[in-house]
Each structure stands twice: as C-alpha cells, then as structure tokens.
Amino acid sequence: MTVKAASAREEFIAGIRTELPILVGVIPFGVIYGVLALESGLTPAEGQAMSSIVFAGSAQFIATQMFAGGAPGFVIALTVIIVNLRHLLYSASLTPFVMHLRPKWRWLLAYLLTDEAYAVTVTHYAEEDRITESEQNHEGHLHSIGNWLGNRHWFFLGAGLALWTTWQLSTAVGITLGVVVPQGWSLDFAIALTFIALLLPFLKDRPSQAAALTAGVTAVLAYHMAFKFGLVLAAVIGILVGVWLESRQ
C-alpha cells in the first residue's frame, strides 16, 4: 500500500472541507462579535477592520469589552498581544511543515494561523504522518523529505482561507444586525458567556484550575486599578501560580 501524493487542488479542497464543521461554531461567534463591537462604541469600519487586521476571535472580544470600559489604547493592545501569545506555540509546532516554502508563502500562512486553522491543520498532518510511518515500517523504505512535504501547505491555506472568509462575512452580518438591535437587551453579557464556554475546556488539571482561580480572584480585587490594568496583572499572577504548581508536581 502506498500513499499517493495529493495534488495542490486536492489538498486545498480537503483543507476547506475539514474546516467546515468548525465554521458552524465560528459563524455565531463572528455575528456576536459584530453586534458587540458596535455596542462597545466602535464604528462599523473599526469593528470590521479589527476582524481583518487582528483576526483573532477571543482577543477581539476582550478588546471590545475593554473599549466599552474606556481602557486606554496601549493597555488594550498589550492585552490583545498577551492573549495571542499562545500562537507562539502554534507557530513553533507548524514550522517544520513550512520551512521549505518561499518567504511569501510563510508570510501568508502566518497571517492565517488562528486557533481554528491550527487545530485542523496539525490534526491532519499528525494523522497523515501516522499513516506514512506505518507504511514505512511495512515496506522498509523512507520517503524523501520533498515527497513527504509535497503539497501539504495547500491544506493549511484551504483551512485558513475558509476560516478567514467566514470570519469577515459573519462580522459584517453582526455589524449590520448591531445597527438594528435595540439597547437594553443586556447583549454585553454574551461576552462573559462566550468566555465561560472558552474557559471550561482548559480546566483539565490542577495547575490550570489554580491559574484560573487566582487570575479570577485577582481580577476582582484589582478591578479598579488605573488604566484597566487589573486584567493584565491578574493574568500574569494566574500564569505564575500555574507554573509554580506544575513545577512542584
């Protein structure tokens, strides 16, 4: 049995198709973001620009919440950057698959490196490599690196572009709805609910739970700090507690 190298077109379409189930959850997320961006006082152009320039769901929600609370720009930008630091891990983990590409490709794929595109792409690569490895053990021959990498970056591009397009369009729908949704529906509460849903899957082990609890309590205690800096302080303290507990285990 041999795994035939897929064409660029096949990889691209496979990337889009694998991304589809995730998009079901992304669409309402984008619509809610669009509505909330307007509620927080951003103009439609600013709300849409954030989706294309920052292009990071949860960080955009945090930014709208901070814009609404009147936080200064440098604290908002700093918070967004801290929240997106986890993408360092994604960048590192996908680097072996993009190092052979021309710089233009790498610059483009980095722009598309979101939680959702990463999750799908890294899972797909890991599955393919398992198949290739078992085949190698079976037939006892090694594939050359060139064959192994093949057109796989097209899968990443397909998944990333599918997500990008969906995010821009659902933001636009939310912004359009936001103009007609009346105030007083407590829609800002949807941000808190969104983060509850995002938070729960991360509470798998003791150090993570402790990090979340300390960060939460610190955020309450430091709520009235100048420049809304309490959020950054709370996150840093939570992270330190998590690292400390993990190192003791």
């Binding site: 620009a49 990071a56 440098f74 630091l85 360092l88 960048s91 938070l199």
Partner: protein, 105 residues
C-alpha cells in the same frame, strides 16, 4: 492612542507572534522553560474576564441571589461543562438572564 492605532498595533503584534518561528527561530522548536507558561495563558486570561463580569455587575462586588448575571453565569458554567458547546452556552445563559429580568419586573 486612538482606536485605529490600537487596532493596528494589536494586529502587528499578533502577526509578529504568528510569524515568529516561521521566519526567525526556524526548526529549533520552543525551549521548554518558555513553552510551559504559555499553556496557562488561556485559562488565566479567560477567567480574569469572567469573574468580574459575573461578580461585579456595574463595577461593585455583589455576591447575592439578587445578582442575576451571577445566577445565569453559574447555569452557563454547567452547560459549558456538560456540553462543551459555545453556542448552546450563550443561548442558555442569555435566555436565563432575560427570563429572570422579565420575572423581576
């Protein structure tokens, strides 16, 4: 810093993070002492947003049955825990808040 500048700085910072290993660090991978703190960023940040939203509506600490956001939030935690479904969590939480606000009238 105005809104546009904020968005551009946040966007450039985010892009630099995503690009980092693709162009600079190469194949060496993330050093262990560097990777470890990163995994605590999501739980810490998300929780730091959720706690004040539920416990301090309007900016004042309110741990009581009169705090409808806290009640609706606890229900949402249960839904998120059991289903891991973002849309369902938002729907149940919003409906619970609206229902309680309507009953309080």
């Amino acid at each position: 810093m105005n809104v546009w500048l904020t968005i551009i700085v946040a966007g450039l910072g985010t892009y630099a993070i995503r690009l980092s290993f693709f162009v600079i660090f190469g194949r060496r991978g993330v050093p262990e002492h560097f990777a470890r703190p990163l995994r605590f960023i999501p739980p810490a940040v998300f929780s730091a947003i959720v706690f004040p939203e539920l416990l301090m509506p309007g900016g004042l600490l309110d741990i009581s049955l009169g705090n409808l956001r806290l009640l609706a939030g606890i229900l949402a935690v249960l839904v998120a825990w059991r289903t891991r479904n973002i849309v369902l969590t938002i729907l149940v939480g919003m409906l619970a808040l609206w229902l309680m606000q309507w009953l309080m009238w």
